[in-house]
């Protein structure tokens, strides 16, 4: 079961998101109203730790536990980056959830999260269907 390790890491990730209240609409509102450092501290320190880790991996040419090369694909820019980003931001402030927290909310017992996830799937499907007609 080679995917089991991702399940375990996902469980830990979900616990962290939940215990730090990142999965809460209240915390996201606090963030967009600049009334607490909590979310900025979390995102900022996560980036710093991620950045140092990636530098260490690259400079020491670390391999995966199975001995594979580690390579991180570069993100490519298109106009969707900012158009889609802004659309997501509107939804982020409405739902108070990015995709990860939606799944954690469902697990925590919030029934509305099932609707959020279904609606998000509909959004992703609609984007996929309209993709060729949208500016990129």
């Amino acid at each position: 079961m080679k995917n089991l390790k991702y399940l375990v890491l996902g469980v830990l990730f979900g616990i962290i998101l939940t215990k730090s209240e990142v999965v809460s609409w209240w915390r996201i509102q606090e963030m967009f109203r600049f009334q607490s450092f909590h979310m900025y501290g979390i995102i900022g320190s996560a980036i710093v730790v991620g950045l140092i880790s990636i530098q260490l991996i690259k400079r020491n040419r670390l391999k995966t536990i199975n001995g594979e090369e580690i390579s991180i694909a570069d993100k490519k820019y298109n106009h969707g980056t900012w158009i889609g980003g802004t659309i997501f931001g509107l939804g982020w402030a409405l739902t108070g959830a990015c995709p990860g927290p939606m799944f954690a909310q469902l697990g925590s017992g919030v029934a509305g999260a099932a609707v959020l996830i279904l609606a998000a799937l509909a959004g992703t499907w609609t984007y996929s269907a309209l993709r060729e007609k949208l500016p990129h």
Binding site: N66, F88, G89, P99
Partner: protein
Amino acid sequence: MLELLRQPWPWYVAGPLIGLTVPALLLIGNKALGISSSLRHVCAACVPAGIPFLTYNWRAELWNLFFVLGIGIGGFIGYQLMGHADTIAISPETVRDLKAQMHLTDFSGLLPKELFALENLSNWKGWVFLVLGGFLVGFGTRYAGGCTSGHAISGLSNLQWVSLVAVIGFFVGGLLMTWVFYPMMF
């Protein structure tokens, strides 16, 4: 120690742990942290409908669905098993503003029941907050090529300027909703 685990975790504990997820995924399987992709994989698996963007070998990305399933289980453990406060201790200014501007009265739970309870699907609030909100998240993240995890955490950690553009977009959208559209709605 157990009592500490039960309490809400401060940012300086949670943030670094989230950051460590980036190297953890790289070291266990050369995977880049990103969660919104899971929505695309589910669409590709369930309703591909001949759409080119949904026609690919999603089975090769199964790890991502296992990760997301884990997040759901983590939500259950973190909230139901490890315990939680009934009301999240947000700043008094936010409470004051939400009372005055959005007429919220019940501050219990992870999200306001007055907006997100299923009963709200019988009025505009449920459709805007649950349905439109979720739709914009799914549409926007795929259009932008990532969400908070893929762009903000993973992308910025790898010094991708594209991700900085995306994150600025996230905040422009979020601030517009909070400061311009919310006052129009309530």
